[in-house]
């Protein structure tokens, strides 16, 4: 999109584009979520096995070092898969919430989101100026 085309973008078109993007994500995320669950389950099993092997070699120091390293490695992998799973779960819930929100907006309820734009159109200061002013006031009062 050319820079000057940005001026012709309407709130309706923007909301529609956001909803489309979110719907696409809503289709992709469950697949991703399933993959992450499987990955996490596999990691959990591997870590558990490594842990048991390591515990079994408590009396053999040389062997214990090897099983200990394997256990550490599997545990790190498991933690990483948990993090990935949480991210996917969060994205999933965020997408569901966002879809609901933007679908409401698509019905023309975006007025409160355009308050800053309206103030500028009416000749008021931009929010950048207001933030700057706020910052200066805070610095002045402290």
């Amino acid at each position: 999109m050319a820079p000057e085309d940005m001026l012709s973008v309407t709130p309706e078109a923007m909301v529609k584009a956001i909803v489309q993007r979110r719907e696409r994500m809503a289709k992709e995320i469950p697949i991703e979520l399933e993959k992450r669950r499987e990955e996490n389950d596999r990691a959990y099993v591997l870590t558990n096995e490594a842990k048991q092997r390591h515990e079994a070699t408590d009396d053999e120091p040389s062997e214990g070092t090897k099983t200990g390293a394997a256990y550490e490695e599997n545990e790190t992998f498991r933690r990483r898969t948990v993090s990935r799973l949480w991210t996917a779960q969060h994205a999933h819930s965020d997408t569901e919430e966002a879809l609901q929100f933007w679908k409401e907006m698509a019905e023309g309820n975006w007025g409160h989101l355009l308050e800053d734009a309206q103030r500028v159109e009416e000749g008021g200061p931009s929010s950048y100026v207001l933030r700057k002013q706020q910052k200066m006031d805070l610095e002045g009062s402290s």
Partner: protein
């Protein structure tokens, strides 16, 4: 005698005729003095207008009594227009704070993030989406404001150039006035000299008390009034004599040649076969 030779041409003329010539010369002297005053007033007005145009003078110069003030009036009108446009531009910029090109850049970025499909790990969350949506349309309103005021920037630039050109033209005129002033001085000097000679002659005649010559407008008074500066010698002469009359007589004390200070630092002994320089 020297005095006889100075007035020899007048002695043979009837006194009435000399008096008439003196009167005519007085009229000429007054005319040239008035002309000189007018030139200085014009020069000062031009100087003030230039200073006002470049913000070195806060008050609007008074142009009453200035001959041919069209260009000066034009400069004052352009300055007023320039100040008005500058204030409007400053108000706009301080109200929006972000330059137009930066706004367009940010809008492109926000639009791409909000509408382009991406992996969920690179996608903005809902809170960011709401913030970007709101900012996008605020920036759109800001760019529209810039575009509505586009003529303001063009007008400001055009007025600035026009004011600059007018100031240059006034400056050129100012040089012309300096030439007029020199010419006036050159013309006035022999007229004054002749009038002074006639007055001295008439005053020497018994029972005659000729009118005094019009006071010469002091050069420095006019120069100061025109906003010019005086040199240190002129200023010193003014303080000593109440004017510049004795400027040529002011003695500039001769400076004694600087004595070379001898160093207190010990120097190395000269090389064998050489002499110490300051010995």
């Amino acid at each position: 005698m020297k005095g006889d030779s100075l007035f020899s041409d007048l002695a043979s003329l009837p006194v009435e005729q000399v008096e008439q010539r003196y009167e005519d010369l007085l009229v000429d002297v007054r005319r040239y003095e008035d002309e000189r005053k007018a030139i200085y007033a014009d020069k000062k007005a031009r100087s003030d207008v230039i200073k006002f145009a470049v913000n070195k003078l806060e008050t609007v110069p008074d142009l009453t009594g200035v001959s041919d003030d069209r260009r000066l009036q034009e400069a004052l009108e352009l300055k007023a227009e320039f100040d008005r446009l500058l204030q409007a531009r400053d108000e706009l910029v301080s109200r929006l704070a972000v330059p137009r090109h930066r706004l367009v850049q940010a809008m492109e970025e926000f639009h791409a993030r909000l509408t382009t499909p991406a992996h969920h790990s690179e996608s903005p969350n809902m809170a960011s989406e709401i913030e970007m949506f709101s900012r996008f349309f605020e920036m759109q309103a800001m760019v529209r404001q810039y575009d509505q005021q586009r003529h303001l920037f063009a007008d400001l630039e055009r007025t600035r150039s026009a004011l600059l050109e007018t100031v240059k033209a006034i400056n050129r005129e100012d040089r012309k006035f300096a030439q007029h002033l020199n010419k006036n001085n050159e013309t006035l000097r022999p007229v004054r000299r002749e009038a002074g000679r006639l007055r001295t002659y008439l005053a020497s005649l018994p029972g005659h008390d000729p009118k005094p010559l019009p006071e010469q407008i002091e050069e420095f008074t006019l120069r100061l009034a025109a906003g010019n500066s005086l040199s240190l010698e002129e200023f010193s002469a003014m303080l000593q004599h109440g004017g510049l009359a004795g400027l040529d007589e002011v003695e500039v004390p001769e400076r004694e040649p600087k004595k070379r200070r001898r160093t207190t630092q010990r120097r190395a002994e000269p090389m064998p076969g050489r002499q110490r320089r300051d010995a």
